[in-house]
């Protein structure tokens, strides 16, 4: 009440002073975060852009500006072309199977009552398990002579299959492991989506004559799950573009199995071709960036605490 009776210029001055004080308080609270943001994001991003137009090699004395040569070199480089097409093939397998299977499994689990949590646990296990260790296990399971998969194929009268050395099979095999790892994660997201569908919609659909399971799926479930499906697809593609662990354990990029991140890893951290690796990183980033921008703007709706 007393503030009202004060002369306006004094109160305004006090307001301003309080404004500075508040600003100062705010800044002390965010300063560690702001500092780290500069140090971990802004400066490195600027460095990355600058590096990508140079021929810098770690420890080199002379470094020159090369313009867009690194990018031209990348697209003419057979190794990078392979990394590129392998990654696309990997993504093209993981998305439909990782999303499609998850949808089917989620719908089936959603119908279960007593066994629901049991299935949830089972399908979610690979998400928490250390992928590097599990990749080692897969290597053993797919072993031509010592693995159970080939033993099974043998009893069925099928030929010995070299999943991890036959060039035509390596990327699909890696993708199958990718699906194994991601499917449980997607199942949980789909289950959340299914639970959110109002029951009345199914009743309404039944009244309208959509009573066959497939009709109900097409008229209610699929449209209602639209946003979830989109989110799951984008998330799965980001994960798939970042495939690295399985390649590092199972093939080390040999026999033409480079993928984008592994190619970057080799150029940057094994051959120390910093300029070239920076250019490759930017190419990788353009692919992931669009997807992650979309994801970030939909994060708000998913974060519901």
């Amino acid at each position: 009440m007393s503030a009202i009776s004060l002369p306006t210029d004094i109160s305004r001055r006090r307001d301003r002073r309080r404004g500075y004080a508040e600003s100062l308080k705010g800044w002390t609270f965010v300063s560690p975060a702001a500092l780290l943001l500069m140090l971990i994001y802004l400066v490195p991003l600027a460095m990355l852009l600058a590096l990508s137009v140079t021929d810098y090699q770690l420890g080199a004395v002379v470094t020159g500006f090369v313009g867009l040569d690194n990018f031209e070199r990348a697209f003419a480089d057979p190794v990078f072309q392979r990394a590129f097409s392998n990654t696309l093939l990997y993504v093209a397998i993981v998305i439909p199977f990782g999303v499609g299977l998850a949808l089917v499994i989620a719908i089936l689990i959603h119908q279960r009552r007593r066994t629901r949590s049991l299935y949830e646990i089972i399908y979610f296990l690979p998400v928490t398990a250390t992928l590097v260790a599990m990749a080692t296990v897969w290597q053993f399971i797919l072993h031509p002579r010592l693995g159970p998969v080939n033993k099974l194929l043998q009893t069925l009268g099928l030929p010995e299959t070299h999943f991890l050395s036959d060039p035509a099979l390596i990327v699909p095999t890696l993708a199958a492991i990718g699906v194994w790892q991601v499917v449980g994660f997607n199942v949980i997201l789909f289950l959340a989506g299914l639970t959110a569908i109002p029951r009345e919609l199914y009743d309404a659909a039944r009244v309208d004559g959509a009573s066959a399971p497939l009709d109900r799926f097409l008229t209610v479930t699929w449209p209602q799950l639209g946003p979830t499906t989109m989110f799951v697809t984008v998330t799965t593609s980001i994960t798939a573009f970042k495939v690295f662990e399985t390649v590092a354990v199972l093939t080390k990029g040999q026999r033409g199995t480079e993928v984008l991140l592994y190619a970057i890893y080799l150029e940057g951290f094994q051959y120390f071709e910093m300029g070239y690796a920076a250019a490759l990183t930017l190419v990788f980033m353009t692919f992931v960036l669009l997807l992650s921008v979309w994801q970030t703007f939909h994060l708000d709706r998913r974060v519901h605490y």
Binding site: S23, K25, G26, W27, V30, A34, L37, I40, Y41, P44, L45, M47, V104, I107, L108, H110, Q111, R112, T115, Y123, F124, L125, P126, T128, A129, T130, L131, V132, A133, M134, V137, F140, I141, L146, P148, K151, W180, V183, I188, L189, R199, D203, P213, L214, R216, F217, V220, F231, I238, T239, E245, L261, G268, F269, M274, T281, S292, Q295, T296, Y305
Partner: protein, 280 residues
């Protein structure tokens, strides 16, 4: 009670169980084979039998060899140090920042929040090259600090906590100020505890992500003594490739067990913590 009308209700429960069980077998196969192999004798491993009970229990030998060949406990200790170090700093940095972004007006607040959202779109792998060069410049490679540094700032934590803190009632904050609470006390003793579900979900996410991360440790660490579990596993695989599967699977079991066991005990927190992000 009438069953929930589901789009595939026409499938008999039997058929849906069948599909789910086939899927479950695919999911569980590596876990089953890993544990089984870890307690089998070499002769049984080489005969590739599907019989689920080892004829001769060989667990002591396999696990003993695994612990003898690589420092498994050391790997796990490294994992604990790195994960906890990261988490503690993440919370110390993100909670006050999120509180200020949610509740304190200050010049540049919108810009800072825009930067946080922008940073959310940048995957860590993009920053690896310059960060590696910086750490090499200061001779910090092969240290715990190098493994932790890029993750000290979690823009996701700031984003998540800000959304949560925003819903905290302003009246309580005002009243606390009048009662003589400092801003720091309001942040840590009133607002942060009210967001405990979000904080613990984030903690689970952070611990799982960094326990399992291979990319960054592989770049900055070459010393076996510093390796966290995934890198340790990679060293183990490379060193012993093709020779001793019993020990290798025993090692894989040991390194996978902590998170899997924790998951089985705190299923809800794990599922919530990991899936809330959509970002792995």
């Amino acid at each position: 009670m009438r069953k929930f009308p589901s789009p595939l209700a026409g499938l008999t429960p039997l058929l849906s169980h069948l599909v789910l069980l086939i899927g479950a077998a695919f999911i569980l196969l590596p876990f089953f084979w890993m544990v089984l192999t870890s307690i089998r004798s070499p002769s049984e491993i080489f005969s590739v039998s599907f019989w689920p009970i080892p004829r001769e229990f060989y667990g002591w030998e396999n696990y003993g060899e695994a612990f003898g060949m690589v420092p498994l406990l050391r790997f796990m200790l490294n994992g604990v140090i790195v994960c906890l170090g990261i988490l503690v700093v993440q919370l110390l940095v993100a909670v006050p920042a999120a509180y200020a972004l949610a509740k304190l007006p200050f010049a540049g607040r919108r810009l800072l929040f825009a930067l946080v959202v922008g940073a959310l779109c940048v995957p860590m792998q993009v920053l690896a090259l310059p960060l590696f060069m910086g750490l090499a410049e200061f001779n910090l490679l092969n240290t715990y600090f190098a493994m932790m540094l890029p993750f000290f700032l979690s823009v996701f934590a700031i984003f998540l906590f800000r959304q949560t803190f925003k819903s905290y009632p302003d009246e309580i904050i005002q009243a606390a100020r009048l009662d003589g609470f400092t801003e720091l006390e309001i942040c840590w003793r009133l607002v942060a505890p009210s967001a405990l579900p979000a904080i613990s979900a984030f903690a689970v996410f952070s611990l799982v992500a960094h326990w399992n991360d291979l990319y960054w440790p592989m770049i900055v660490v070459s010393d076996t003594k510093l390796a966290p579990p995934p890198l340790g596993m990679l060293f183990f695989t490379n060193a012993e490739a093709g020779s001793n599967y019993g020990a290798l699977m025993a090692g894989a079991t040991v390194l996978t067990a902590p998170l899997v066991v924790a998951f089985l005990f705190a299923r809800r927190q794990f599922i919530q913590g990991i899936t809330m992000t959509g970002v792995k």
